[in-house]
């Protein structure tokens, strides 16, 4: 028991000031923020587990949760302690070598949260000695990382009008940045920053501009009031530019664009915000006037291009891969990476040249990608070693139907709905894209459209998961499958890696359990 006690001893003093997160590469055995570093690459410099020994990777411990909603967390690991969120809005601290719980926070929730697609939570952020977590009743909490005790509890928005917080927040300097979910409930989307000390809201950026603000003219009439553009996937941050990058979701109602004529800014966009003020530096809209539910809720991945040019890359739900200049938002390149039947291509500014007869109709319109896109919220990974961008790709179309939407606060507000394609079995793959061109370097086929993110490691491996519950490792250079483990439940989360007492582990949530693997 001595080592465990020693670790608890360490945890009592664990502090994660901003500079530690900023320099996360200096401590590869920890996982201090959602995507490990501010760049969003989800690449671990750990290399004890390699292509040569991954066949000896075995589960070391499991931790089971008691809630049956999808388990989508990315764990944080700080100095021997793992912090996970559990559905619906709970937090547990686990010792990283044994998997034994150290404390648990269990939120009592109202009986009627409004969450479109499961009462889920995707993770935490840490700053100082505090953990920050959002809740399905749309609060943001600061917890004491030593005990799980609530330090402050702020209402982000009224859950009864369709708001919820499922996203892992992002700590930047002295602030906690958080997004909102509710794109199927006609909310008006925003990105918030809270003072980590007091919980006071420091700024709010409305993703649907109000009267008098630039972009407001892209919404017909009063449609902006229910314009959605939710912000339910964690963004990234460039400390040198002091810009926060965050994706925005579909305009509301999802499938009926007639009631919201215009481009509907800043839905289906990437926005770059000043971290101090929340002021918009630039925006790039991937899908103007979306009617296919193609949220741009992705982790925007920050990489260095040729000549050190600061780039941001996104494999978008609309099936196009984009390279943008992250200082200016200027479009650099965009090509399809997954099957798509809706656009002839992108013009010189990156705007899609939309094909006719691709709108939802009463009879139904078959379009690729389907409403869940060429990929979805789960994280891609980028390896600076291979310069490949790894994306879990969905090959699935949808027959899109339109209906007349009727807005009632807190009620489902989609203006249509999806059907499948009779006789066509959807599929998927893991694709490795060359970052400069978007060309596919290799592809590993999956049986069904995935809901699991990817992790790349300096050990030359890419980890991923399937709906059928297989957690697997591929060779990062060739895509060759090297190892797999059947977890017995669908993998609907992002993998991560850490060390405990110097030994590398890989962890992932699958089914209703968290698994930690190591080479014996």
């Amino acid at each position: 028991m001595r080592p465990v006690l020693a670790l608890i001893g360490m945890a009592c003093c664990a502090q994660v000031p901003y500079d530690r997160i900023r320099q996360a590469d200096a401590e590869p055995g920890n996982w201090l923020t959602y995507s490990r570093t501010y760049s969003g690459q989800r690449h671990s410099p750990l290399k004890q587990i390699t292509a040569a020994n991954v066949h000896r990777l075995k589960p070391v411990w499991m931790y089971q949760v008691n809630d049956l909603a999808q388990f989508e967390t990315t764990p944080l690991v700080v100095d021997g302690i793992m912090f996970i969120s559990e559905p619906p809005s709970n937090v547990t601290a686990l010792e990283t070598r044994s998997g034994r719980p150290l404390w648990a926070y269990r939120r009592s929730l109202p009986p009627d949260p409004r969450v479109c697609c499961g009462q889920v939570n995707r993770g935490l952020t840490m700053l100082g000695d505090r953990l920050f977590v959002g809740t399905v009743d749309a609060h943001l909490l600061a917890l004491d990382s030593k005990t799980g005790r609530v330090i402050w509890d702020m209402e982000v928005a009224d859950y009864r009008s369709g708001h919820s917080v499922t996203v892992a927040p992002l700590a930047v300097k002295d602030k906690v940045i958080v997004g909102i979910a509710g794109g199927e409930y006609g909310i008006r989307g925003f990105i918030d920053a809270y003072d980590a000390k007091t919980g006071r809201r420091v700024w709010r950026f409305w993703t649907v501009p109000g009267p008098g603000e630039p972009g407001h003219e892209t919404w017909a009439g009063d449609s902006w009031k229910t314009g959605s553009a939710a912000t339910w996937v964690t963004g990234t941050y460039d400390p040198e530019l002091n810009l926060v990058y965050w994706g925005t979701g579909n305009p509301g109602p999802d499938y009926n664009g007639d009631v919201r004529q215009g481009d509907n800014l800043y839905s289906c966009s990437l926005v770059a915000l000043d971290a101090e003020t929340g002021k918009l530096k630039w925006h790039f809209q991937f899908t103007p006037h979306d009617t296919h539910d193609w949220d741009s809720n992705h982790v925007p991945v920050l990489i260095d291009g040729a000549g050190g040019r600061k780039l941001v890359i996104v494999a978008n739900r609309n099936s196009f891969y984009y390279v943008l200049d992250r200082a200016t938002g200027k479009f650099v390149r965009g090509v399809p990476y997954a099957r798509q039947t809706w656009a002839k291509g992108l013009d010189d500014n990156g705007r899609p040249m939309v094909l006719p007869n691709t709108e939802p109709t009463l009879q139904g319109t078959l379009v690729y990608p389907g409403l869940h896109g060429g990929t979805n919220w789960y994280s891609p990974a980028y390896s600076p070693d291979t310069r490949l961008f790894y994306v879990a790709v969905r090959e699935e179309g949808t027959v899109y139907h339109v209906a007349t939407p009727q807005y009632r606060p807190g009620r489902y507000f989609a203006g249509g709905g999806p059907r499948g394609i009779p006789g066509v079995e959807p599929g998927g793959s893991v694709k490795a894209l060359r970052v400069e061109t978007g060309e596919t370097a290799w592809e590993f086929p999956l049986h069904s459209p995935p809901w699991a993110g990817l992790l790349s490691t300096a050990g030359g491996l890419v980890y991923g998961g399937t709906n059928e519950g297989i957690f697997f490792a591929l060779d990062a250079s060739s895509g060759k499958p090297l190892w797999r483990f059947p977890t017995g439940g669908p993998v609907l989360a992002n993998p991560m890696s850490y060390t405990s007492e110097g030994k590398q582990y890989v962890a992932v949530a699958a089914g209703h359990a968290l698994f930690a693997f190591a080479v014996d």
Binding site: A69, A414, G417, P418, I470, P481, P486, L492
Partner: protein, 250 residues
Amino acid sequence: MRWSSLLLGCALAAAESPEALFTSHCAGCHGPKGNGGKGANLAVPRLMRASTDEALFNVIAYGIAGTEMPASRMTDEEAWVLVGYVRSLGRVAPQAGPGDALRGEKLYRRENCEMCHTIRGYGGPIGPDLTEIGARRSAAYLRTSLVDPEAAIPDNFVFYRRIIFLPDNFLQVRIVTQDGRRITGVRLNEDPFSIQIRDYSSQFHSFLKSELKELHKDWGKSPMSSYAKIYSREELDDVVAYLVSLRGDR
């Protein structure tokens, strides 16, 4: 009420009369009058999956796991309106068909249908279990299944499924193993690395895909041949009448 629906329902209705709700949410599978199609026949006095109104509400709100029945996206009030409407369908007297169920039962046995189908625990597992088929499917659908089986293959992909846990039902697959064995059967499950099959002598097989030389998926094929020429017109009426009589409650 939890809203952890894994499946998406169909288009929302603009109007909210019970009939309009049923037409937009349900009729696609259950037929315009609710008397069955690809989905169960709802125009029956007793619903197998929903003996109480509360149970029927849960089926409408959350779907039936492992089946094509999805969770709906309607409000609780709308789901309760539909509960009442679906119950009213069952109060319509079932239309008597032209056939004779007792003769139909003999014809079912004459053609050894129990080789592949099970009724009340007796028979093979290759095709769908028929114990409750009369409550699940309309007479018209059952007739089509007999004369044109490939027009009536269950299709899981009609509905959009958010997370696919199980593959399509009753897909015929043909494999050749690396060591030259040939097996034809129905796929039970599949993942990127393995596939599970039940062959036509009801044996289970599980292969790693790396052990296979060939894997063919016969989309749209049915292992059942047409009975249009095997049964006379009157005999078909009788067999349909027998199947319609199978309601799982005898």
